[in-house]
């Protein structure tokens, strides 16, 4: 297939400045080929700010560490206080570096080098040194060059609320196509332990932008007191789906008092069932979107039935 060199291998991250944290990134190269990392920086709404063709070289087997604010200053940008930056890294095999147009590369080779390693994103509190991070990859999404259609499903129990704790879903509306544009709707639902939907809502994201969805705020917006909604462990089940677009989610659990947090990515349906790909995945996601788009009267969940 013919692929613009910037779309072969990407990695996208967002900062988390509005939560009071700074950001570090470690890029890895276990692909077996030497690469040059280019960088496209956008604001939180996905608007392009600057593009730099080469910020680092990564020989095969090497890793490169970046302090994001230092990296931004090095490319002429002052880190905006309280607002987020979206950093799109493009890792380009050196063999294709001088190509002007699309390069010829096997699709299998693209996926091989993309999945050969995870990269590490970490946020930290400069006052205490506290740091937490997550290793992940950025797949090709919202890019018809690789897949005619993208979709998204998250179904994992990850929300914990207490006086000190909150859960925030960071969602990137990423595309491996830098010219991808428009907006995308992501449908959410929170369920109680008994399975009933407590609340559903939709977030609309700009292409290449990022949003942080605060679960306590969502409940308050729908007239719900979080204390009356959660079970005795502070637990709720979050679902999110889109039949039309792909998204990159990272869940934050935060302790605002201690200024600590964790981050975790999600798992696609294929991890749960070996047949959950292609048309079958599409059917599941269509059903999830239908359920999450149906109006739900904001309600306190029924008692949990967790024990036999």
């Amino acid at each position: 297939m013919k692929v613009p060199k910037e779309r072969i291998w990407g990695f996208v991250v967002s900062t988390a400045r509005h939560l009071g944290f700074r950001t570090r990134i470690t890029l890895h190269n276990k692909s077996g080929v030497d690469v040059v990392a280019g960088l496209l920086v956008r604001d939180q709404d996905g608007e392009r700010l600057v593009r730099v063709p080469g910020v680092a070289e990564l020989a095969s087997g090497s890793a490169k560490f970046f302090e994001v604010d230092e990296l931004l200053r090095s490319v002429g940008l002052e880190p905006p206080e309280g607002e987020e930056s979206v950093l799109n890294f493009h890792l380009i095999p050196k063999a294709h570096l001088d190509a002007d147009g699309p390069v010829e590369i096997e699709k299998a080779e693209v996926f091989r080098i993309l999945t050969a390693q995870d990269h590490y994103l970490e946020h930290y509190d400069p006052k205490t040194g506290f740091a937490s991070g997550v290793l992940y990859q950025t797949p090709h999404v919202n890019d018809p060059l690789f897949f005619p259609k993208s979709s998204f499903l998250m179904q994992a129990p990850k929300v914990f609320l207490s006086e000190h704790r909150n859960t925030v879903a960071q969602v990137l509306f990423y595309s491996s196509d830098p010219d991808f544009s428009g907006t995308g709707d992501l449908h959410f639902g929170l369920r109680g332990g008994g399975g009933n939907l407590v609340v559903t809502w939709t977030e609309t994201l700009p292409a290449h932008g990022v949003r942080f969805v605060d679960m306590k705020e969502v409940l308050a917006r729908h007239g719900l007191d979080w204390k009356k909604v959660v079970d005795r462990h502070g637990f709720l089940f979050l679902e999110a789906a889109s039949a039309d677009h792909g998204f990159i989610p990272i869940m934050f659990n935060l302790n605002r008092t201690m200024h600590t947090f964790d981050m975790e990515h999600s798992l696609p349906p294929l991890y749960y069932g070996s047949k959950l790909t292609g048309p079958r995945k599409g059917e599941i996601i269509a059903a999830a979107v239908k359920a999450l788009k149906a109006p739900v009267a904001a309600q306190v969940p029924a008692p949990r039935r967790s024990r036999p």
Partner: protein, 280 residues
Amino acid sequence: MGFAKEMASKILETKRKIVPSGVKRVVYAVSPLEFFYEEPIAQVYIVDDDFDTFLCVNNFFSVLTPEIPGAARGEVELRGRDGRVLHRHEVRLDDQGSVAISVRELQSEAGIKSPVGLATLQLRPEVTAAREREVFKRMGTIASHFFTYYLHGRSEAMAIIHPQSSIRQAPGPKRGGEGWRSGQAIATAGLHQVRLYQANHAGRAARVEYALHDFEGGRIVASTTLDVRPLGADVAVFDLAHRTDLPRLLYLTADRLPAPNGKPLLMRTYEGGRFSMSHS
């Protein structure tokens, strides 16, 4: 492929696997449907003076086979540091239901005390074999993934970690060169300890040699060895708070992993009960 043909194929595929205990052959004689389940998924639990672990389980059948609504039923097993089964707990989830199970509460109910070990889950659709078969047709081989949530009792610092491997994996080979290298860069500012919570998803004991290296240049600044029993879990601790010779950044290596995807959970501890933990 028809369902009967698919089932026959599954059985043959599973029979080809080498299972030392022979348990699978016994199960096969009882119910061929068992072959549509992966081995139980396992993750490390921590229950000590500071930490509790919550097993976050949802009825994923409701989302992944929405045309066949119904409850799910399953079993949580707690294994001790040495891999022995200490406790079994039955779980029932309503359609679309979910639960966070406190391992501290489970241990208290069972009258056991185990600070570290493996928790496993196997979940299945409730009711009839016919319904189970319809689920298999749509899902294929099922893996019962769950998330684990670690909570510090005093500070309420927390970590949520996605599921890891299934149990009874083949042992991980000893690796050449620097061995396995974690993708994390470990900043040393304010850092008190690095703890490595190591699961052994395999049926063979493993001795793992860990090392922390200077991120720039690779010099080893600390090392330790851990023996992890089959289907058990244990922890290796690097005390770094009083080290004055540490570089700004470290990385972690191991000479082997007990099972192919058996990377340790990497915990960082800081002042005041602050901690973070994630896959390494």
